[in-house]
Symmetry: C2
Subunit: 225 residues, 2 copies
């Protein structure tokens, strides 16, 4: 009657590694970020996430309850990371000076490189942002984007008011472009370089225009101060 599972010597089925739940949770979230980003919320399956995380599908469902809940956690983390990253850059102390543009450009570019390093985060965010059918997911994604947009627009404290929205748009759109225009942004390194240039270019333009036309509708005014 003794069950014959004492294959002590040879291990036929490689014993899967048991790791703490908290650690496994991180693996699942990381895998889900990639899978959701690539296939979209509806296109992704819990089994794909599970395989990407190296475990079985029922575990994923039991750990997060539902697929929607899993996605909401991925989304919350993506937003948190994006917002925190941008806020840090903005909050960094700056001195006004000649190399001001160069320094800020470099920092913004570096932030982008970090964020785009795992595209799954941005892709998941974009998916949630665009998708209109699930009210909970859509509302959270749009609220998060709005926060980033307003933060860049209102709190950057760098370019003049009329042009902050302009810069904020540029940052977000660069993100989108960098995700899926391999012909424009060749590889990751090229994308990083291009983004640094893009920011420097934007800031150049913004500051030049400011110097040329201080506050009102820019006509053919003489440069002032």
């Amino acid at each position: 009657m003794s069950s014959v599972n004492e294959t002590s010597g040879t291990e036929l089925t490689p014993p899967i590694e048991r790791i703490p739940a908290a650690e496994r949770r991180e693996q699942i979230l990381a895998a889900a970020s990639v899978v959701f980003g690539e296939r979209g919320y509806s296109g992704a399956t819990t089994d794909q996430v599970a395989r990407a995380a190296g475990i079985s599908q029922p575990y994923v469902v039991r750990m997060f309850g539902t697929k929607e809940n899993l996605f909401l956690e991925v989304l919350a983390r993506a937003l948190d990371r994006l917002i925190t990253g941008f806020r840090q850059i903005i909050a960094e102390p700056r001195e006004r000076g000649d190399d001001e543009i160069e320094l800020l450009s470099a920092r913004l570019g570096a932030a982008y490189v970090d964020l785009i390093e795992d595209r799954g985060i941005l892709l998941s965010l974009m998916q949630a942002f665009i998708s209109g059918h699930n009210p909970v997911i859509g509302a959270k994604a749009r609220a998060g984007f709005l926060e980033i947009y307003r933060m860049m627009r209102d709190e950057a404290g760098f370019p003049p008011e009329e042009i902050r929205g302009f810069l904020a748009e540029g940052m977000l759109f660069n993100t989108l472009l960098a995700i899926r225009l391999p012909d424009v942004y060749d590889d990751d390194e090229a994308a990083a370089e291009l983004m640094r240039c893009a920011f420097r270019g934007k800031l150049d333009v913004v500051l030049s225009a400011t110097a040329a036309a201080p506050a009102e509708h820019a006509g053919t005014q003489t440069p002032q101060q």
Copy 2:
């Protein structure tokens, strides 16, 4: 015997209107554009498209073969409409003059209003652009976006070269924002007005910067010509 379907006087089941296949095809494509845009490719069902078009699900499948094929037709039409619209605006003859900025801004803004009138087109396009899993759909969407981007960047013939990419990005990103940021772009009319202002603002910046810094890295140079 004689089949009893001669309910000549009263019509219990309202006789569904039979219309030519070509016309029905247009209805289905219009409905599919909305449904795909709202739910994404994977999230949309052929039955939802059928109901939105006022017919039964098997008809949709039989007319387009597969769901993927239906989406590809929606995508092709969206790209065609976008590219055609932008190309027309760019190709329109312009005179250089004082109100040059005002005129081009108005035209770009009007084009946006037209395109955003049915958001389904843009949403479907964005879904396809972002989604990475289906190679055929993704490749077509990205190729189309790239064509628009390059057209705006290379053929606009209006702003100086260094800044055309800047303007092209702005156009595309404004599209994205207008789709799903109701707190920023309140209603459709407000969105239209905001977009006109955005373009005017962008062109103001671009042209001012050009006047201030003709070709090289914008330093503190004196305006020339």
